[in-house]
Each structure stands twice: as structure tokens, then as C-alpha cells.
């Protein structure tokens, strides 16, 4: 594949980006800027344990964001990820009540994630329905099932060994979640940038019909991407449930927004066809640092959501405003 000179670029080129070399460089500068600003703003910021705590702000969301990045590059979207977390967590909680051990819980969490992903995938790829409506529907359906099971109750009593997935440390301040995040980042980076499968994801996102005529099984690739997104939501559900130690049906509310924001902030085009995993990794750090920094300054969570929402619109609007201003 590398011998041909007609490769589809991993990201779209525009004059703005050429000047700044790449979105990723810009994002990295932003991340460093936020890091420096935070260390001046709060004396508690530059502390190994505090920084380690800060990683929990983004590791679980980022795990989903990697799979979501592939899905968005292929031109689809999954808004049900947070509800899959709720359903997987509820299933694990129910299993705890009948005495299932840690390996069983992990298996249940992953299977529920896969099943939900498969359900989305079948509706989108077999029945040809638009993914945005399907996943708005399953977003209500999956969380709705959690509400039916739990109502206003909560599941507790997770085994000690299970909580390690959310609270354990591998070495010094390096948490298990952070290691898992790094491993998953590498896996998705290789999958997207170094394999035929990854190339076909770009091809589908740029021109699904063209991809089909060049022998790519478009629907199957998309189905696999929905499966992966479901699976990653299952993984995130395990980590989050283990970290919180309890399950309520409102768990991870609004995460779909933060995951999509992370992906878009990472330079993935919401229209599909371009983006990199490195961008998503840096975006995860940016969002984690912003949330953590504002938290240290006692800014309430809901105000942070203004910042997240403004970031989402801003990162897309600013380059366009800039090029419009340049064009005058």
C-alpha cells in the first residue's frame, strides 16, 4: 500500500493547518499552556499525586473516545455510549447481588458492551438507518432499562478485588486506569494508522460508495466499529463502576457529549474521513487538565460544562473564522 502515491491522507489539508504545521502541534501547545497556567494558578497543581488523580478525569472517557474516533472517521456516530455504561454497570451490579465474582463481573461488563454495540450496529448496517437517530433512540433505551431495573435504588457491594480496576495503582502514582488508557491508545493508533482495516476506515469516511467499489466491505467494517465502541464503553463501565463502588441509573450522564467533544477537539472531522489517534490523546489531556485546573480553583462542575461546550464549538469555529477573516 505504501508504494502507491495516491494514498488518502490521514487528515484533510487546509491553508490554516499548513501554516500551523498540524492541528496536533497546536493542541500540544495549548496543553502545555494550560499546564503552565495551572501551575501558576494553584500551588496544589504540581504534585505527583494530584496530577495522578487528575488522570481519572479523562482516562475512562478517552478509552471510548478512541473507538468513537474511528467511528466518526468512518462517517457514523454513537451517542449511546454513556447509556451503554449505565446498562453494563447495572448488569454487573445485578450480578454482584447473586454473588458473581470479579472475573465474572468483567466478563458481564464486556459482554453487555459488545451486545449493545452489536444492537446499534445491526440497526445501522443491516437496516440502513441513520446512526444519529438510532443511537439517540438506544441512548434512551439502554439507560431506560437501567431505570426499570434500578428505579431510585443503587447497587453496591462490589468485591474488593474488583475495585482494583478503578482504584488500583500499578507502580507509585501510575494507576491501572492510566496504564490501560495508554495500552488502548497504542492499540487504536496501530489499528487506525498501520493496518488495512484502518485504511478502509478512512476510505469509507471519505467516499463510502468508492470504498465499496474498491472491494471494502463497508457495512462489515462499520459493524465492527460499532462493536468496538460498545466494547470500549463496557471497559469504561468496569473502570468507572470499580472506581465509584456503586451503580445508579444516572451513572455517566452526559458523557456522550464529552467523548464526542474529545474526539472533535482532537482534530477528527465530524463529517468523517480525517483525524488521528495522537490528536485524540492530546485532546484527552487538554480536557483533563482544564477540568482538573478549574476544579482546583473551586469552579463548579456545571460551569466547567460551559467551558467544554465552548471548546467544542470554538475549536471548529475559530479556524473557520480565521480563514474567513484571511480571505477578506
Amino acid at each position: 500500500m505504501s508504494t502507491t502515491d495516491r494514498l488518502i491522507p490521514d487528515r484533510l489539508r487546509s491553508p490554516m493547518e499548513q501554516r500551523l504545521k498540524s492541528w496536533e502541534t497546536l493542541l500540544l501547545l495549548v496543553a502545555i499552556g494550560i499546564f503552565v497556567a495551572n501551575s501558576f494558578a494553584s500551588p496544589y497543581f504540581l504534585n505527583a499525586w494530584n496530577l495522578s488523580d487528575a488522570t481519572f478525569n479523562f482516562t475512562e472517557k478517552a478509552m471510548i473516545a478512541f473507538a468513537m474516533a474511528l467511528l466518526i472517521i468512518s462517517g457514523e456516530i454513537d451517542l449511546s455510549v454513556a447509556s451503554i455504561i449505565a446498562l453494563a454497570s447495572t448488569a454487573m451490579g445485578a450480578a454482584v447481588q447473586i454473588g458473581v465474582g470479579t472475573p465474572g463481573l468483567v466478563l458481564i461488563g464486556l459482554s453487555v458492551g459488545l451486545l449493545c454495540g452489536a444492537f446499534n450496529g445491526v440497526l445501522v448496517t443491516r437496516m440502513g438507518l441513520p446512526s444519529i437517530v438510532v443511537t439517540i433512540g438506544t441512548m434512551s433505551l439502554f439507560r431506560g432499562i437501567s431505570y426499570i431495573v434500578l428505579g431510585d435504588q443503587a447497587f453496591r457491594g462490589y468485591p474488593e478485588s474488583f475495585s482494583w480496576f478503578g482504584q488500583g495503582y500499578v507502580w507509585w502514582v501510575i494507576s491501572f486506569e492510566f496504564v490501560l488508557f495508554a495500552i488502548i491508545a497504542v492499540i487504536y493508533g496501530v489499528l487506525l494508522h498501520k493496518t488495512n482495516f484502518g485504511r478502509s476506515v478512512y476510505a469509507i469516511g471519505n467516499n463510502a460508495t468508492g470504498a465499496m467499489f474498491s472491494g471494502i466491505r463497508v457495512q462489515r467494517v462499520k459493524f465492527i466499529l460499532f462493536l468496538l465502541t460498545g466494547l470500549m464503553s463496557g471497559v469504561a463501565a468496569i473502570c468507572l463502576t470499580a472506581r465509584l463502588g456503586s451503580t445508579r441509573p444516572s451513572i455517566a450522564t452526559g458523557w456522550e457529549l464529552e467523548v464526542v467533544t474529545m474526539v472533535v477537539l482532537g482534530g477528527v472531522s465530524i463529517l468523517g474521513g480525517s483525524g488521528t489517534i495522537v490528536g485524540v490523546v492530546i485532546a484527552a489531556f487538554v480536557m483533563g487538565l482544564v477540568t482538573f485546573g478549574l476544579g482546583l480553583l473551586n469552579v463548579p462542575g456545571i460551569v466547567m460544562s460551559i467551558v467544554i461546550g465552548a471548546l467544542l464549538i470554538g475549536v471548529i469555529a475559530l479556524p473557520r473564522l480565521w480563514s474567513m477573516w484571511r480571505a477578506r
Binding site: I77, L123, M127, G128, L129, P130, I132, V133, V134, I136, G137, T138, M139, S140, L141, F142, R143, G144, I145, Y147, I148, L150, G151, P249, G254, L257, V260, T261, V264, I270, L271, P300, I302, V303, S305, I306, I308, G309, A310, L312, I313, I316, A317, R320, L321, M324
Partner: protein
Amino acid sequence: MLKRLITTRETLLVGAIILLLVLISSRFPAFIAPSNLANVFNDTSPLILLAIGQMIVILTKCIDLSVAANLALTGMVVSMVNIAAPDLPIIFTLALAIGLGTLLGMFNGILVWKLQIPPIVVTLGTMTIFRGLIFLISDGKWVNSHEMSPAFKAFPRMELLGLPVLSWIAILAVIAFTILMTRTTLGRAFYAAGGNPHAATYAGINVGKTQFWAFTISGALAGLTGYLWVSRFAVSYVDIAGGFELDVVAACVIGGVSIMGGIGTVAGALLGALFLGIIKNALPVVDISPFWQLAISGGAIIIAVALNAQANREKGRIILKRAEHIS
């Protein structure tokens, strides 16, 4: 041909609603008493208002996920203005609600029109921004019933010819927007812009501007509903109508509005909203926990969109009933 298909789809929905009512009344006859049906309609009125706005947005190939947040923000602003100036005539409150809602809708519209940012990104963003703004202006506090002036709370409940004002507003909106969508150039432009944007451009329709007007209308209706909502429930806080945007989209999809744009009617949105409203009101009557509602509306969205896709597959995209409608 198109007319026949539309009538069949809407007849189908009317049939489904009647079937639903028959099923419920077979066990609980009191549910279909006229006074109770009027209550159900009144309770569904906010959903109807928002569904009409959402339908127009979806017609133009966009989506507005910020309607519930717009409603909550406008509701909070008018209730805080009411605390500051309890004697303000209700007409000013209404104007303020519609005006603020319109501005918020225009903000979405400008971002979609001028910067060409995908509507889902814009409205996901503004959804969180609006909710955050409510927290900022209210400091996270509630505005409770006793802080609102009696006139402020009384308006949507006032009875005219046996129906509350809230219901009348929904009825008026249905009539007004049916006329707008079927009898005006702008109405046809909404269908054209979503049905085939390229053809619409060649026909002299500014697609972006049409989308801007769709968001503006959706925002205005959300603002109006914001006041009606807080005065009817006599409370205002950050999370009112949380997740309601999904019900609104569900009502549209159930009502046969195609998410791909270009297909949908005001009557469809009305029937879709009524379908959800009846289910929501019937759940406590038939003794099913209200916690089922979320799953039911989710299931209804999926079934409806699957049915729509089947129906749309049979025919081509038709954007104009008759060519002479466009001037």
C-alpha cells in the same frame, strides 16, 4: 401519490393512537373521559410546541438538541425578571420569553449558516452552554412557587371556552405553522432546502439562510414554552426539562419526519407528540412505574425510524408537491 402516502402515514398514526386509547380504556374507562383527554392534551402542549419547531429544523437536514436547555434558560430568566419586577404585565413576559428564545435560536442558526459547523456539534455545545448559564445566573438556586407573582403563574391555566390557555397556544401554533409550511414561500423553502440542497440552491433558495430561519423558529417556540413551563409547574431550576430534547426528537421521528430532511408535516409532529403524551399519561394509570418511560420512548424512536425507513425506501425523494408553489 405523495399526498396519498402522507395521508396513509398519518392515518396509520391516528389509528395507532386510537388503538392505544382503546387498549387503555378497556381497563380504565375513565382515561378517555373528555375532561381527562383535555388534561392529557394540555400536558402534551409543551411537547407539541417544541416538536413543531424541531420538525422544521429536521426538515432542513439539521437537528436542534438545545431546545430543552433553551427552554430552561428562558424559563429561569423570565422567572428571575418576575421576582425583580412582579408587576410587569404578562405581555412583556411573553415578549421577553419569545425574544430571548429567538436570540438563542439565532445563535445556533448563525453558527450553522455562517460558519457551516455541523448542527449536531453546534447544538450539543449550546445545550451545555445554556445549562451552564442557568447555573451562573441563578447561582444554582431554585425559583419557587411563592416567589412568582400570581399573574405570572395564572396565565397558562386561564380557561377560555373550557380549555386552558396553554392548550390554546398549542392549537394556535399548529394552525399557524400548518399555514406557514403549506402556504408560504418560506415553508416550501424548508422542504426544498432539506429535500435536495443543490436543487434548492439552483432554484434560488439560500439553503444556509433557510436553516438559520428554522433554528430561529425552533428557538422562539422553545423560549415561549420556557415561560409556559415554569409558570405551569411554578418552579424553575437548572435541570428543568432535562433530556426533554430527546422526547422532542422522538415525537418528530414517530410523526414520520425523516431525519434525512425534506419529509414531514406539522400534523405528523402533532400526532407524534400526542402519541408520546398519551403513553406518558397512561403509565401511572395502568400502574407501570414512571421509570419505564425513558425505555419506552427510546424503543418508540427505534421502531418509528425503522418504519419510516421502510416507507421512504419505496418512493423517491419528492421535494415539491407542484412546481408552481415556488415563486
